[in-house]
Symmetry: C2
Subunit: 325 residues, 2 copies
């Protein structure tokens, strides 16, 4: 089905069942984990049984979140659950093979997401690409359904939305986003503490990573394109974790005159993960990513392609150059 | 007087006069310039004559703001104005000597600020230290007085409040702050564009500076002390401006485990400017600075001492090591 289910329909399905597995995408970010914890704790406050599963488990940088240790990697055997809810995940395979196996006994699939490319792979789907974060959709679902909103849900929604809007800065931030934040503060959210936890924690290895990236920084196309790269050997040398490189690309997208930024990251298997960022409408990151089988949003998209880095760099930079000229 | 004037009293004074000079503090930031532009354009929409004066003029990084070219350095002769409004300035001298001279014909002084230390140096004063930014006080004044809120005022308020809250992150951010942002968006604020202008605009030379600094980064004392340095030759090579290195030291103070950070900067005359930062009460930056004739605050202090960098580094690091052991 491609029609969105209403909040009422989703709520009715939730109320009619007792056991749930909540999933989100591989390499989870704040919106993925935040959405799992936010909805899960609301469900538990309704007396439901909830399993919080992520293919890659909980990233270190989100371990400050209340009850985040509930996020587990998939067990070997399928869980005995009635319903699987996929959160913030644009395609079913991005939930991860082991996570899908863990959820394979679920008879009902609910798919809640804000990625425009989501093909509505659930039995019930609510895809709202106008929402800056899946966390904001859950906030609206919970409020409209008069579901419980415990403190762990409140804080998790904030983390989800703050991280997916770049701290309320991106163009997807709406009046409703700020109003939601105001409501969460009125419900007792500690703004200073949670933001220090999200944004002010720098392991030394992240500084070493930044230095290494800056030493590969190049500008192209008269300064309109910035790119840098990370060989797998450097990740090993500094013992980097996957989440360490997230968002670092914002620094070079922010250079005056740059309209497109690219980050080439060599993976353990030799494949190259390419992150693309657009500063404005001059460049559409998603369109260029799609040329190589990738996808995402207009401002932020990704590709996974064959290596070595030098080949991937040459191809992608040529496509970017073509796109912006 | 130490009692706050009400918004109604301030509005009455504004309505009763025709010509205004608006001032803010030296080395102006987003809240200083934003407050001047926000109130000034509301006054102009009421038919008032407004002079926008700052001792140091408009900083480059705020020149994206609509009508920001109206911010001028003080003229040599006092301006013919009835009212001076001081914005976001904790003490009268911090308005600057030339700015004070330019305002010397004003018969009425209005002082609007959010610094708790403000001694209420105006004839009418509204000091609200619970407000995260002077811009938020002006928003409340304008709304309560039903003054005009033109687009330039709307955008300037957002810049003022966003910059003084670290993009809605600091503990001074309240529910009212987020609600204000929601209202500004409903009034047509372009969130994506204005935030890109505030935060995503780094001259390339600042990135080159960061790379150069990171390549000199060292940790000492089992990771408790971080330091980096900037030879004068690098400043010349990248054509750096004095403000370029401001706040960069926050990055290394923020490394997990670091309690003291030091930045050694070679000046044109060969002297060394040392910036010291403390993360918490483990290290008192001011006490160490005073050993070398410098000074400042417990968390942030400075020294100017003889070069070369290697000598200054050796002496200051020894003193820091001594202080924290």
């Amino acid at each position: 089905m491609s029609e969105n289910s209403t909040y009422a329909e989703i709520t009715e399905a939730i109320r009619a069942h007792d056991s749930f597995i909540l999933l989100s995408h591989i390499r989870p970010d704040g919106d993925a984990i935040g959405s799992q914890l936010a909805l899960g704790h609301a469900l538990e406050a309704m007396g439901k049984t909830v399993h919080y599963i992520n293919e890659d488990g909980l990233p270190d940088n989100l371990s400050f979140m209340a009850e985040s240790q509930r996020i587990q990697t998939p067990p070997a055997e399928p869980l005995d659950v009635q319903v699987c809810i996929a959160l913030d995940c644009a395609t079913k395979p991005r939930l991860g093979e082991n996570a899908l196996h863990a959820a394979s006994k679920a008879k009902l699939w609910i798919n809640i997401d804000h990625h425009i490319s989501n093909p509505a792979y659930g039995d019930l789907n609510h895809i709202d690409s106008t929402s800056p974060a899946t966390g904001q959709i859950l906030y609206q679902l919970i409020k409209s359904a008069d579901m419980p909103l415990p403190d762990a849900t409140r804080d998790a929604i904030y983390v989800a939305v703050s991280t997916d809007t770049g701290s309320f800065q991106y163009s997807n931030t709406t009046a409703a986003t700020y109003e939601m934040a105001a409501d969460l503060v009125r419900r007792g959210l500690d703004v200073g503490t949670i933001n220090a936890q999200i944004y002010d924690s720098n392991p030394y290895r992240k500084i070493e990573l930044l230095r290494s990236l800056l030493n590969t920084l190049q500008l192209e196309n008269d300064g309109k394109v910035a790119h840098w790269e990370l060989p797998y050997s450097v990740k090993e040398e500094y013992n980097l974790k996957p989440e360490d490189s997230e968002d670092q690309i914002d620094l070079i997208r922010g250079i005056d005159g740059v309209v497109a930024a690219a980050f080439f990251e060599e993976l353990e298997d030799g494949k190259i993960r390419v992150s693309l960022r657009a500063k404005d409408d001059t460049f559409n990151a998603c369109e260029t990513a799609q040329l190589f089988g990738g996808g995402g949003h207009a401002r932020a998209a990704g590709i996974r392609m064959a290596g070595p880095i030098s080949d991937a760099r040459e191809k992608v930079l040529a496509a970017i150059s073509n796109a912006i000229s």
